[in-house]
Amino acid sequence: MDKHLYNFVLHLGDNALILGHRLSEICGHGPALEQDMAVTNIALDLVGQSRNLFQLAAQLKGGDATEDSLAYLRDATGYKNVLLAEQKNGDFAKTIVRQFFYDAFNYHCYQRLLQSKHKDIAAIADKAIKEITYHLKWSSEWVIRLGDGTEESLRRINDAIEDLWPYTGEMFKFADYEVACNESGVFPNIQGIKADWDEEVSSVFGLAGLEVPKDTWMHDGGKRGVHSEHLGFLLAEMQFLQRAYPGQEW
């Protein structure tokens, strides 16, 4: 098994699953029916993407690994998602800012995966990019409206940006498996992602009348399994059924 390839696919799947699960937590709690549907749709898209990736990871791992064993039977230290994805939903502004930072990254990441030499990954990206393009559009429009909205929405989105900005650096601090996949052509041209992301963020923030924070100290660790305390609680809830009643099915 190509360990770097396996870890890379897991990392992509974990990003999608953890953020998708976070969003699913607020299903039924949206500020309006229309937004509740939008957030739930995005959650479902992300969980769907993670399934495709876990199926591939299970295939790479072989043995009795399945998409379900990868999702439900790994501990927090085995998860490789970025810390941004596991951050709590907070208020609507925080949910939106987390989504926007992630979508802007994800969009430019999957644009590259379309060119991947690994044909399964390219195929997964081809399916996902349409969804991700919409996610980015949706979260961008909300950043603009919250930034250029009321005094309260501006205050809340600025608080959210301040909270989440230190989690953005990790996306561009590439793990050993990302570097290896870059060299093997699985994840091409990773060097340009940061510049693309910066441009995306400053263009949307410009329209929103928001300031891009100055560079600051950045958290990292998620990609190698060192997580914030939030992930353990998330997994405890998400994995409860399979842990308590192993092998349960619908």
């Binding site: 309006a32 229309e34 429009e141």
Partner: protein, 93 residues
Amino acid sequence: MKKWPLWEIFIRSKNGLSHKHVGSLHASDEQMAMQNARDVYTRRSEGISIWVVESKHISASDPDEGESLFDPANDKVYRHPTFYNLPDELKHM
């Protein structure tokens, strides 16, 4: 959010068919109305095109005028094209 205006949503289900009213929703502006319509009304592949129109821009006929507007057509069956004998060779009519 309570101040969000109401929008009427029209969806074209496939090419060749016209847009059909499917419902209404609240949104802050036309761009958001479009996104909300996509999320609320096209999740199950219902459409290929969306129109959104702010409800206040729609003028509706007055139900009280129903008699004068619509009843006069009731006794004018000759307006239906059912009085022509079509040649058998003519298909798709």
